[in-house]
Amino acid sequence: MKEAILTSNAGAQPSDTELIARFLAEQNPHYFTQIYRRYAGKVYAKCLSMLQNEACARDAVQDIFIKVFLSLSRFSEKSAFSTWLYSITYNYCIDLLRRRKKLPVLLAEDVGGLGDAPVPEVPDSVLLEMKQERLEAVLRHLSEGDRIILLMKYLDDMPIKDMAQLFGKTESAIKMQILRAKHRAQLVYEQLYGKDPLEA
């Protein structure tokens, strides 16, 4: 079976699973380098957006890939390699933020002071079609929890179930958190640019 995987697609770009199988079978670092080149940029972007510091993001990329290398044999192929890698990335950054700020929870229900007030529905297009530099500024002004949850939702299209598992919350709590994060992003946009993002 493994041989079949190794010999398939001889000419084409090998898939992640093929590269992992080859690396585990031959212990040749070249295959790991290929995996690194495929994903390092994306992992760095996620770390940078969560940690908001280039040096920390660089160290995080290094630590995350070493972690991946050490636990590669435990990768079960139940999910895509990218999903597994990104969940390691999110876990690493969330842990780092928690330790740094000594926060027991990252997603508090009342962060931002919205309390129990009804949250208006903000269409996805508000965030998805925002100008790149404006979105960057808005993300910078949001709390870590909001930023992470928006990245999970719109950058990685992560299922609500997986997010709930990662944060140890219920799916409805995560849905509410997304709703609030979107609303807060809209408020930040209005504060920064003085108008509704839909009208911009």
Binding site: Q27, N28, P29, F32, T33, Y36, R37, A40, G41, K42, Y44, A45, K46, L48, S49, E54, R58, V61, Q62, F65, I66, F69, L70, L127, L128, E129, M130, K131, Q132, L135, E136, L139, L150, L151, Y154, L155
Partner: protein, 88 residues
């Protein structure tokens, strides 16, 4: 042909990912190479080392030490764990 949806998050990700310095790759790959080499060394030497250690502690068949020359003094003279040291 369907129009590709704009996703500012993905555009931002592309812009950020371009800023990853090449030295990080060098550091990660160097560590992976070293760890892989160490793993190979362990694969080669560890089983024999453990077997020798087990024989030294518990005694056993001297013929198991293929690496020792025949008639080697300590290989033939197996320690009997039931006798206190000094008594033969």
């Amino acid at each position: 042909m369907p129009m590709k949806k704009i996703n500012a998050f993905k555009q931002l990700e592309e812009a950020w990912s371009a800023h990853l310095p090449a030295e990080v790759e060098l550091q990660v790959c160097c560590q992976v190479r070293n760890a892989t080499a160490a793993g190979r060394m362990a694969d080669i030497f560890l089983p024999n080392a453990l077997r020798v250690a087990a024989h030294l502690v518990g005694g056993g068949a001297p013929q198991a030490y293929a690496c020792l020359p025949p008639g080697s003094s300590w290989a033939a003279d197996t320690v009997d764990w039931r006798r206190p040291p000094g008594r033969r």
